[in-house]
């Protein structure tokens, strides 16, 4: 029993890092552009679909670790130029509806191109590490590690580079940033593309664990929103902690109850957390 509990907790920990990748993209886009991106789940799906095609066409899943984020950053660029920039400064509800429209369009295009049948990608790192008497897939450990590195890289980028400084400055005080000559539009555009690339990376990492389906993003987007709100908008450490808590709670309770009830318990934890700390785990950044 205890082995099962621990391995479920470790599974939850791995999923938590993938969820954190996606949620950080959401929270960045909201914190920076004021846009509630309902279409974020589709960007995740597209990342996973990219992983499938680099497995099927290029012969290696690994390529997509690089190609999917680049492709999605490009998709993000097109979305920003055609629609998102017209939504800037509007009521958050308006941004929900606009991105809801984008969700429809992108999901259907994915369906038409990729088809409705779920497909699987073989485990890229087919090796198990000995763990509590049995083995644990090394690939999952790699997932957590890679997500950790990507998030750490993002945080260093935000803290140490000039562009990162611009992003933080714009968020803190729009007017002053504008007066200091920071190219606000470019900051917005690159934040959106960065968020899209993070979601893609989440999709790439998740693809070999779960099957790749044209609507797989619909399941994770709600979790990501819950994480973002539980964490308090804009806080990256808070987002990581919230994602890990949610997924570990869901994982551990799945060993007692069926997966559906486990999900309900995860939602319940989130409600309780919000009730006692409505400003988020670490407060708003």
């Amino acid at each position: 029993m205890i082995e099962l509990l621990i391995s479920q907790a470790v599974n939850g920990f791995v999923w938590g890092w993938i969820l954190a990748l996606i949620s950080i993209g959401l929270t960045l886009i909201y914190g920076q552009l004021g846009i509630i991106n309902v279409a974020h789940g589709v960007l995740y799906t597209l990342g996973a679909v990219g992983a499938y095609y680099s497995f099927a066409w290029l012969g290696g899943w690994g390529w997509s670790l690089l190609l999917s984020p680049i492709f999605l950053a490009f998709v993000g660029f097109i979305l920003y130029q055609t629609t998102i920039r017209f939504a800037l400064g509007r009521d958050p509800i308006v941004t929900v509806i606009i991105t809801y429209g984008i969700l429809f369009i992108l999901e259907q295009m994915t369906f038409l191109f990729y088809g409705g049948i779920p497909r699987t990608i073989p485990n890229p790192i087919d090796y198990g590490i000995p763990f509590m008497g049995s083995t644990y897939p090394l690939y999952r450990v790699f997932c957590a590690g890679f997500s950790f590195l990507a998030i750490a890289g993002l945080m260093i980028f935000l803290k140490k580079t000039r562009f990162g400084l611009w992003i933080r400055a714009t968020k803190q005080d729009y007017e002053t940033a504008l007066n200091m000559g920071i190219p606000i539009r470019r900051v917005y555009l690159s934040t959106f593309c960065l968020g899209a690339a993070m979601a893609a990376l989440g999709g790439v990492l998740a693809a070999p664990i779960s099957s790749v389906n044209f609507n797989m993003g619909n399941n994770i987007i709600i979790d990501a929103f819950i994480v973002v709100i539980m964490a308090g908008f804009g806080s990256i450490p808070g987002t990581i902690v919230a994602a890990l808590i949610i997924e570990i709670v869901i994982g551990v309770s799945a060993s007692f109850f069926n997966p559906v009830l486990a999900k309900v318990i995860g939602l319940g934890v989130m409600l309780v957390a919000l009730f006692f700390r409505p400003e988020g785990i670490f407060g708003e950044d």
Binding site: I36, I98, I102, Q108, M109, V260, V264
Partner: protein
């Protein structure tokens, strides 16, 4: 002003007359779609009350729809009730559910309210899928809707035309009731919350109570739509709790016109018509079209179809 008012009164009467006469001549499939539009319009009206008129974005409207339809179905299946008692239980279920959840939810503001309502509907969806003994899960229940007894005569709901008129009657009554409320001081006070909650509070309105009233009214209207859905299709299942349905209410209302009360019916009419008539030959790109319509409408005419016509027909006024 009076000539504009007359235009709207004439339009209302003409559409009511059309809704009464038209179905007699419509082929069965088109009549079915028209019936469906009435139900979806009523469902979206619930969303218009809470968001369009009160300013609270409730993204969990499917909860009320599901509660209504299950209250109605279960009192027929498990308790063997007739039409009127089942209708009563169905509505009572939604009212109680709305008051209890509303008392908690309306304390929260902006995005917290949105997320709490989404989570509410997700928890209900998961529970309904899971408690198969009680809800029937994703297969749900298929029932024989009992005849509607009017004392002297019984109306059988087996005939589609009878079903249509019963559904038209209930949705028209609900619509008129909601319209009456929003023209009364109570409704004006609710709209004041949307305009500026702080000011409404300072003037002396009991805003928490008003929000709860609006929440309950909205839930009840959407729940009634759930009951009518059962009358039309004789079936319900756990899928009615799924958030996609809540998303549709948002879509229909936004396209039709937020805060207009007519809008949800017009929006549902246009989009469901598109979906059912066009989708047979545009099935592949239909969702893409819907996405484009949503984005275009919200960017170019954020007041929706009804709001747009109210604006151009009413110089300098809001058309109410």
């Amino acid at each position: 002003m009076s000539s504009q008012k007359n235009i709207f009164r004439l339009l209302a009467l003409a559409s009511l007359a059309a809704l009464i006469i038209l179905p007699i001549f419509l082929p069965p499939f088109q009549r079915y779609i028209l019936t469906e539009i009435l139900i979806w319009g009523l469902f979206a009206l619930g969303f218009d009350i809470i968001f369009g008129c009160t300013g609270l974005l409730n993204f969990g409207m499917s909860s009320f729809f599901g509660m209504g339809s299950y209250g109605f179905v279960l009192s027929i299946v498990k308790l063997g009730f007739g039409f009127w008692p089942a209708l009563f239980i169905g509505i009572l279920t939604v009212v109680v559910f709305s008051i209890v959840t509303g008392a908690v939810m309306t304390r929260f503001k902006s995005h917290y309210f949105i997320v709490f309502t989404i989570v509410m509907s997700m928890i209900l969806f998961f529970l309904a899928m899971n408690l198969r003994k009680f809800t029937g899960g994703d297969e749900g229940y298929t029932i024989l809707v009992p005849s509607l007894s009017l004392g002297i005569t019984d109306i059988s709901l087996a005939h589609p035309l009878n079903r249509y008129y019963v559904i038209l009657f209930f949705s028209a009554m609900a619509f008129l009731f909601v319209q009456k409320i929003f023209r009364s001081p109570l409704g004006r006070a609710i709209i004041a919350i949307k305009e500026n909650e702080e000011r409404a509070k300072i003037i002396g309105y009991n805003t928490p109570l008003l929000k709860l009233i609006s929440f309950t009214l909205s839930g009840t209207v959407s729940g009634l739509a759930g009951i009518l859905y059962v009358i039309l299709n004789s079936t319900t299942n756990a899928e009615v709790f799924f958030w996609i349905l809540s998303g549709k209410a948002v879509m229909w209302t936004v396209v039709g016109g937020l805060g207009t009360l007519w809008g949800p019916f017009v929006g549902a009419g246009v989009l469901v018509f598109f979906e059912d008539i066009l989708s047979s030959w545009l099935v592949k790109i239909y969702p893409i079209l819907i996405g484009l319509i949503l984005i275009t409408v919200i960017l170019l005419a954020p007041q929706g179809i009804v709001g747009y016509f109210q604006k151009i027909w009413t110089p300098g006024g809001n058309g109410k």
